[in-house]
């Protein structure tokens, strides 16, 4: 059975939004679980939470700060985030760093679809969360959560690297509070999931034209 999720060298009370994590854990406890599966699950979640590889994705200002946390002073390699993959197939989470415009929105959705499960989304900065200063623009999406499900929000314009690391740790906590086997914390049923997986997201069938325009 899962106890509280802990992050090395940061106290549980120092985190915000503990209620959310507790709610997730409560859901887990309700059904009870097999000891062996539970232990195996703990190991898997421990592994997954410590090896989250980001997709190198940045549209604007926050992208530079994203590079800064990869660089020497902030160094997110310490947490195991370091292997930034350029191919969405190999990434574990996408850090939406920057404004998402109307023209970019289908591309972002496509990138998200191209990622392999389990995958997570972090909305970084005011623009990705709500449209930020450009909310009233004719060409800006007011919040990426309208397009793809968001796991962690990191506010700021742009957020400081420390804030980004905090957000990444929150994501680690969330991953730890999930259950890989049994699919309890998933929002949709296994069948629905399978169906959506097979669903073709391209409206147009002619694949010659659309082959790599999203990812590439």
């Amino acid at each position: 059975m899962k106890r509280n999720v802990n992050i090395k060298s940061m106290k549980y009370e120092d985190f915000n939004d503990n209620e959310y994590i507790e709610q997730m854990l409560k859901e887990l406890r309700e059904n009870g679980t097999n000891v062996i599966i539970g232990c195996l699950d703990d190991v898997i979640e421990w592994g997954r939470s410590n090896s989250l590889w980001p997709l190198t994705f940045a549209t604007s200002c926050c992208g530079i700060e994203f590079m800064a946390i990869g660089a020497a002073r902030y160094d997110f390699a310490r947490f195991g985030f370091e292997v930034a993959r350029s191919s969405p197939r190999q990434a574990d989470f996408i850090m939406v760093a920057g404004t998402i415009t109307h023209k970019m929105a289908p591309v972002l959705k496509r990138l998200y679809d191209q990622m392999a499960d389990p995958k997570y989304v972090i909305a970084t900065g005011g623009c990705a969360i709500s449209g930020g200063p450009f909310k009233k623009s004719y060409h800006v999406v007011d919040g990426v959560d309208k397009i793809i499900p968001v796991d962690v929000y990191i506010p700021g314009c742009p957020p400081r690297p420390e804030a980004m690391l905090y957000g990444l740790m929150q994501l680690q906590r969330k991953v730890k509070a999930q259950r890989f086997l049994g699919g309890l914390n998933k929002g949709i049923s296994e069948k629905e999931y399978e169906r959506r997986l097979r669903e073709d997201t391209n409206k147009v069938e002619d694949y010659r034209e659309y082959d790599e325009s999203g990812m590439a």
Binding site: R48, N50, S87, Q90, P118, F180
Partner: protein, 358 residues
Amino acid sequence: MFDFGILTNWIHTQLTSVMSEGLAIFLECVIIGVLLLLLYVIIAIIMIYMERKVCAAFQCRLGPTRVGPWGSVQVICDVFKMLTKEIITIRHSDKFLYNLAPYIVILASVMAFACIPISRGLEILDFNVGVLFFMAASSIGIVGILLAGWSSNSKYSLIGAMRSGAQMISYELSVGLSILTIVVLTDTMQFSEIVMRQADGWFIFKGHIPAVIAFVIYLIAGNAEVNRGPFDLPEAESELTAGYHTEYSGMHFGLFYVAEFVNLFIISSIAATIFLGGWMPLHIPGLDGFNAVMDAIPGFIWFFAKAFFIVWLLMWIKWTFPRLRIDQILTLEWKYLVPIGLLNLLLMVIVVVFKLHF
């Protein structure tokens, strides 16, 4: 120097005393196979961890620190992650080849890995044309990479695969030539024999000028052979996103990833074996006391120390040097390394014929 052959022979006699010889050999093969794969995985984990720490050190960073002491368990986490990650099937891809490709790459890598003599008596594949077998086995990997690029139905993958085809096949030549130079010196192609001949001095010292040239060529070509920077064109991150494995996810990608690192280790350990004496300790003829002290250190430590030293050297090069362009890579090979390699071979023949070596 402890000979592990005594141990293995003892196991063999024990087994044959309780069962028929055929069964015993079969059993031994299974055990060795399992051990080989285990060692392969351990080497992969060590290599990935080393890569992260070494590159962090070169880049004024810390590298992984959170999981385990100094982040040493980091790679285990990655393995769990990889294993539980979805393997995506691509529409419009050639499914059979697409799924086959990573296994070909890993197969080639394991076969080449089996050739490495780790210590005296710890050779898995050791026969009279071992060098030839090693060359043949390691080049199967190219097929896997080409298949991966072709079957993914992605233009980036295809360009990556074409690059790797052009690059790896070319550099195979230089690797072959520089190994051949040493074969001329030793007149044997058996890895264990090559190591034994270095008892009175490593080949890089014995063969002096031609051996040093061959060593440098081997390092360059070997680095290119395993697609490591500055020759990492097939997966050039900033050009082709991830090159030939762009479309691979989950453990299929993991196999490519692991094979890349173990291939680096294989190339390094072959360099250590044929140029730096493999598990043979440093012997200086005439200094018996010194030689005895060196002999006290077990062979496999010598071997791993040498191999990892070369790995470290290649990592240093990778993280510092910018990437070459495809035409520059081919120019370097065909206009410089191959002619130099051929002349060097000639030079070595002259050295051997006139007994100019030590």
